[in-house]
Amino acid sequence: MKQRECPVCGSAVRPENLRAHIARVHPRAEVKADLPKPAAKATKPVRRLSQRRRETWAYVLFTVIVVLVVIVALLPRGPTVAPPFSLTDVDGAPVALEDYRGEVLFLDLMSTSCSVCQSYTNGTLKTTYSTYLSKVQFLSVDINRERDNVLDGNFRIRAFMQTYGTTWQYALDTDGVADKYGVTGTPTTVIVDRDGKIAYRHVGYETVDEIAGQINRLVT
């Protein structure tokens, strides 16, 4: 192993450690000999800085992409003109969008198995229905996540109506209403104005006051 002698104490020291040895062991010694430089890393910090900058930008870019994806996933989707549909309600009566032309329609796109729909029906819809019974038409459409046939679907909906004591019109989605209205989740509330345009649309639970604010805008 290549070693050099310390000019102060004579110890055998590796050449690259000699400067550190003198500084540590003989701090007061004045050595003017040409000491070898410690292992140089002159270019490394510059390279690291550049790497870090690139890495930081990569993190920032990735964060922006993730945030954008989350925002897009949360955005509501759907048409502005209410798509027509034709269904049969649980009592066997035909029901179509055209029947409501000239009236405000409160369309509740729901699923009997969805817990939020259950609390929404019990907590908001029943009160809203009793308040706006004379001014607004109410229709709940079960989007049939269970893929039941009409008989089983209507049986399930009737049981739901009995459990929650609802008296307005219910129908099973047999006409692709969920797709037509771009339902991304339940409950989806759609309020169709007198001209057949979607005046309001909301996905998720809402309070009576929030719904009332939207209906009042259309019926007064």
Binding site: C6, V8, C9, G10, S11, A12, V13, R14, N17, H21, R24, V25, H26, A29, R48, R52, E55, T56, Y59, F62, T63, V66, V67, V69, V70, A73, L74, S113, C114, S115, V116, Y120, R145, V183, T184, G185, T186, P187, V203, G204, Y205
Partner: protein, 166 residues
């Protein structure tokens, strides 16, 4: 053996992804939004899980706790990755990641035993947490090995010193 920070390279990306998923779940929880892509099957429905009675602890949504955890992990990972002299050590990050994974496993147990259905995004979040834990464990191990490396003995006294110096 690579230096500890080398093992942490993927961790900020994983933490950002985890924070994004948790952020979505927080919005999903507060908006009572039932996202259809989450309702894959009757037993795989994050809407139901995220709006169940188990979705909050002391009034705080579990998704918000997850979001906070991923953000803290992100801060630690960025500190260890980008700072020349990091303020934190890998063991601190390892401890936090272990707590996060334990919390995720507890939630998985709730889904399995109490709710009998699973949340897809929560499972993805747990996988991200386990991956972060694995990379952090490697960094911790590397850091520990580096700390334990034999240190050359210091000279006992000043001038006249020993006859040899490493």
């Amino acid at each position: 053996m690579r230096e500890p920070r080398a093992y942490l390279a993927p961790v900020p990306f994983l933490a950002i992804l985890g924070a994004g998923i948790s952020g979505f779940l927080v919005a999903n929880h507060y908006a009572y939004l039932s996202a259809d892509f989450c309702s894959v099957a009757s037993w795989l429905d994050c809407n139901e899980v995220n709006q169940s009675a188990w979705s909050e602890i002391l009034g705080i949504p579990v998704a918000a706790i997850g979001l906070a955890g991923f953000l803290v992990l992100l801060v630690l990972a960025l500190d260890l990755r980008l700072r020349e002299a990091p303020r934190f050590r890998p063991w601190q990050m390892l401890a936090l990641a272990a707590v996060g994974v334990a919390f995720g496993l507890y939630l998985l147990g709730v889904e399995l035993l109490a709710l009998h259905l699973f949340c897809l995004l929560c499972l993805v979040s747990l996988v991200l947490g386990i991956t972060i834990l694995a990379f952090t464990a490697l960094a911790f191990w590397s850091d520990r090995r580096g700390t334990r490396a034999p240190v050359p003995p210091e000279p006992a006294a000043a001038d006249p010193g020993p006859k040899t110096d490493p």
